[in-house]
């Protein structure tokens, strides 16, 4: 579980510039940001399609210029402006200016850190946690870089599952002379919806975390940390004529006990309560406990873990349960295809480069489920109505890092029946860093996910659904300083079988259950040549294909691309 590292990470991110500012010389004005140039040459091919134009080119150059101003050692102002020009948009046409981030932060009495404006914030996976991109962590590295530099960056996706919010954050540490060693505290207030002078009901999210470290790390005694987390979303009375107000409150406690190099026990317990506009109320609880054991005799990197997670069907935590993408949107590239000009459903290729397919803000309700890419945990670890057991084992054999993970899950409350749907997922992840030539890295991942439910009734079709994925990549460095490299990747995604989609209303009540046969196959090969002049600067020339076959579509999109990205 990553629950404990996020606040620390946030604190570190916010604190470091200021801590150093107090000690070292810092210029009063500096520039930070990112620049990017990208060009795609797409070629579409559809079986029997004689209408869709087969070629489409697009590209832009963009710079995010962050002006960092330090009027005094304890205050910093950041204003990041985006300048973007689509290729072909000369003399002002196609040029856009946008404000990407505006932030003020500082220190009060060298003890209390505050941040105002645009903030990236995360807590635990059950309280305040933006879902990662679909298949985060298993993409071939060339595709992962493409997604991170294009759609991921534009959609404010970070490595720490943060939501980009507007409001205020305050953080400070309390030291103790005896008893606990210290406690880190973080509190936030983010405005979700403005009232517009009574035309809408103003909504805020507020809460925070306090993390207590009870002792110092030691080889003799376990290191213990305990935390308390709270997130509330509340419409404010009096900001409009509405008297029935939405409110959601999530309170959890978490802990981590680490015996150095031997074992770790960690977990989170909590509950949620939701007040709907109709007056209905929902409340439920969650439990997540994980134990990790390092097998000393096999080496430090050999470990086994066991985890039990139970999230109640009425446990609602919007800031942790929002799906990453918007399924109803049509992609910008080849929006309509086929002789009947049907709207194309987005596929994984579109997620690499179209940021508008991502959710920038959480949903206050679950919305409807569909099973295109995920079925066991479409809302991440906090997916409601699941109890599950996860076991994994990781180690090294014959110089190959391997990890095997198995998950079994079950609904807690049936959907349209007392018979519960079962889920399983098995991952085999292999990595082989070789010293051949100037260095070669291989990775292969095989994932098998299933869902099944049988014997609901004589005429009720069984749920029988399978999502097999594989991800393969190889990267070879072409020179001794490893600035040039060539990568090949292959991603295969699929799902098929009979599944039921859950249709909910705005208060999470299930209105309908729609079953049907599904079939979807995607094959994404990728080949690219990289030149990395530094860790922050990469130029890539690549080819990427997407071959899609579904019940009603059979087409491919291939593209050649050039991508240059630099962070400064």
């Amino acid at each position: 579980m990553n629950a404990l590292k996020y606040p620390l990470c946030l604190i570190a991110c916010l604190a470091l510039p200021l801590a150093t500012a107090a000690q070292d010389y810092q210029p009063k004005f500096s520039l930070t940001g990112k620049a990017r140039g990208v060009y795609f040459a797409d070629r579409y091919s559809g079986a029997g399609d004689t209408v869709t134009s087969p070629r489409s080119n697009s590209g832009h150059v963009m710079a995010d210029l962050g002006m960092r101003l330090r009027p005094n050692p304890s205050t910093e102002v950041l204003a990041m402006v985006r300048v973007r020009n689509d290729y072909g948009g000369f003399w002002g046409s196609g040029v856009t200016f946008d404000l990407r981030q505006l932030q003020v932060k500082g220190l009060i009495q060298d003890r209390i850190r505050y941040t105002l404006g645009d903030v990236d914030y995360a807590l635990t996976p059950f309280t305040f946690h933006r879902p990662g991109p679909l298949m985060a962590g298993i993409l071939p590295s060339g595709m992962a870089q493409l997604q991170k530099n294009l759609a991921g960056y534009d959609a404010f996706i970070t490595d720490h599952n943060t939501w980009r919010q507007q409001g205020a954050v305050v953080e400070f540490r309390t030291d103790f002379a005896r008893g606990p060693r210290y406690a880190d505290h973080s509190a936030f207030a983010f405005r979700q919806r403005a009232g517009f002078s009574g035309q809408a009901t103003e909504s805020w999210a507020f809460g925070g975390r306090t993390l207590w470290t009870l002792n110092d790390p030691s080889s003799l005694t376990p290191w213990v940390k305990v935390g308390l987390n709270y997130v509330g979303i509340q419409e404010l009375a009096g900001t409009s004529a509405a008297t029935d107000l939405y409110g959601n409150h999530v309170l959890t406690g978490d802990f981590q006990i680490v015996k150095q190099s031997r074992w770790r026990l960690q977990g989170e317990l909590g509950s949620s309560s939701t007040q709907w506009v109709s007056g209905d109320q929902d409340a439920d609880y969650m439990i997540d406990v994980k134990g990790v054991y390092w097998l000393k005799e096999l080496g430090i990197s050999t470990a086994a873990s066991l985890r039990y997670t139970e999230v109640g069907p009425d446990f609602y935590s919007p800031t942790a349960q929002t799906t990453p993408n918007i399924s109803s949107l049509a992609p910008a590239a080849f929006t309509r295809i086929g002789n009947s000009k049907s709207v194309r459903t987005w596929t994984y290729l579109d997620l690499f480069r179209e940021s508008n397919l991502y959710r920038y803000r959480w949903n206050s309700t679950l919305g409807s489920d569909n099973n295109t890419y995920l079925i066991m945990d479409p809302r991440g670890l906090a997916t409601p109505n699941r109890r599950r057991v996860t076991a994994d084992f990781a180690g090294i054999a014959l110089g190959i890092f391997y990890k095997v993970e198995g998950v079994w899950a079950q609904e807690i409350r049936g959907q349209g029946t007392d018979v519960l749907t079962q889920f399983s997922r098995v991952d085999l992840d292999l990595r082989w860093p070789s010293r051949m030539g100037y260095g070669v890295e291989f990775r292969g991942l095989i994932r098998d996910q299933r869902a099944w439910r049988t014997n609901v009734g004589d005429d009720v079709p069984n749920t029988s659904y399978r999502l097999p994925w594989t991800s393969w990549s190889a990267k070879a460095y072409l020179n001794s300083d490893q600035t040039f490299s060539v990568e090949a990747g292959l991603l295969t995604l699929g799902h098929g079988g009979f599944a039921y989609d859950i249709i909910r209303n705005a208060e999470n009540t299930v209105l309908d259950i729609r079953g049907g046969e599904r079939s979807h196959q995607e094959l994404l090969p990728n080949l690219c040549l990289n030149y990395a002049s530094s860790e922050q600067s990469t130029l890539t020339l690549g080819w990427l294909g997407s071959y899609v076959k579904t019940l009603d579509a059979n087409y491919s999109i291939q593209n050649l691309y050039v991508l240059y990205a630099i962070t400064f």
């Binding site: 009870l214 002792n215 005694t221 376990p222 213990v224 305990v226 406690g253 802990f255 006990i257 977990g267 317990l269 509950s271 439920d284 609880y285 439990i287 406990v289 109640g312 069907p313 009425d314 807690i412 409350r413 049936g414 959907q415 349209g416 029946t417 007392d418 609901v456 009734g457 004589d458 005429d459 009720v460 079709p461 039921y500 859950i502 009540t509 299930v510 209105l511 309908d512 259950i513 079953g515």
Partner: protein, 336 residues
């Protein structure tokens, strides 16, 4: 510290037990899959809870039937004499008092009389049709402040103004098509020089022997109701309702200085019950919503008079509309 860890683990175990012992509602969510995918069969036929019903005594009747799956149903009650129709629609496996209750209301005018009624139950998408009967011994009592139902001619408390146009009809009529009861009020005529064809004024001082309308002062609880139709083939008739308030309580309405709430109705060719919450009424100037004329407060208890204006474009020729059961209700729209 080991002691502390033990305490901590014990506390954790207790907390886990406390959470795990909480009760959850594990009733399956959503429609039953056996209803969505099962085979349709009628398990028990259509039955009325009573063979005769007297709505005037506050009685009601409900119908029962059962099918093997939850499915859409349409229950249609038709008066053999009046031709009145009550339609109840829903989706269920079982019909009972919660979803198939009839309290004498009408879905399609006219209203029911004391008569024998045919009952028909159909399931869209399936050929099965079930039949039954129920006899109405007394019609429902309307709980409302009735301005006029025209059953005994137009109330002498009201005043009429009729332009001197051609083919003018401002009379109480009977005969089909009926709405409520056996009579309604017909307004018709051709006035080539003015939008106004005629009007009926209903001042509070003339109502209930001068006692007034006695409406609730909460505008969210008061509804104005009326049944309207337009002669088939015409669409030029406009009925303009005007409700004038005596804001300052001096007993008169001061034109342009006190509130006048209005509703513009363009009836269809079939009788239709229209209900308006008093607090939703607006000020209309030449048909467009505009600023209030008086204090801007919806005050039903200060209602001075109700005016029913019959209008038509002077270039549009003959216009004709009918109205019936003009009344105020409290807390809910009128149910006929």
């Amino acid at each position: 510290m080991p002691l502390r860890s033990k305490h901590f683990l014990a506390s954790l175990a207790l907390a886990s037990l406390a959470f795990a012992s909480c009760e959850r509602d594990l009733t399956p969510e959503g429609p039953a899959l056996t209803d969505l995918y099962g085979t349709f069969k009628v398990k028990s036929g259509l039955t009325a809870s009573r063979a005769q019903v007297n709505f005037a005594n506050g009685e009601s009747v409900y119908f029962t039937a059962e099918t093997s799956i939850s499915t859409d149903f349409v229950l249609t009650i038709t008066g053999q004499t009046s031709g009145a129709v009550k339609r109840i629609e829903g989706k269920a496996r079982t019909l009972d008092a919660t979803n198939a209750l009839w309290q004498g209301e009408t879905s399609q005018f006219p209203t029911f009389q004391t008569e024998m009624c045919d009952v028909m139950l159909t399931y869209p998408g399936y050929p099965d049709t079930l039949y039954g009967n129920v006899q109405v011994l007394g019609t429902r009592v309307i709980e409302a402040t009735i301005l006029d139902d025209f059953e005994n001619g137009m109330s002498p408390e009201w005043t009429k103004f009729i332009q001197s146009g051609a083919n003018m009809k401002f009379t109480v009529q009977g005969g089909a098509p009926l709405a409520e009861g056996l009579s309604y009020y017909k307004m018709g005529g051709t006035v080539a020089w003015d939008w106004l064809i005629g009007m009926v004024e209903m001042p509070k001082n003339n109502f209930n022997s001068g006692a007034g309308f006695s409406l609730n002062n909460d505008a969210d609880k008061v509804y104005f109701n009326g049944v309207f139709r337009q002669l088939a083939g015409l669409d030029n008739g406009i009925i303009l309702l005007q409700l004038r308030e005596d804001d300052n309580g001096d007993g008169t309405y001061s034109e342009g200085n006190e509130d006048m709430w209005s509703v513009e109705i363009r009836p269809g060719s079939a009788w239709e019950l229209n209900s308006y919450k008093y607090s939703d009424l607006v000020t209309l100037v030449n048909g467009a919503a505009s600023a209030a004329l008086g204090n801007g407060l919806h005050e039903p208890d200060k209602l001075h008079r109700v005016s029913i204006l019959f209008l038509a474009n002077p270039n549009s020729g003959y216009a004709e509309c009918d109205t019936d059961m003009l009344c105020f209700t409290e807390n809910a729209p009128l149910a006929l």
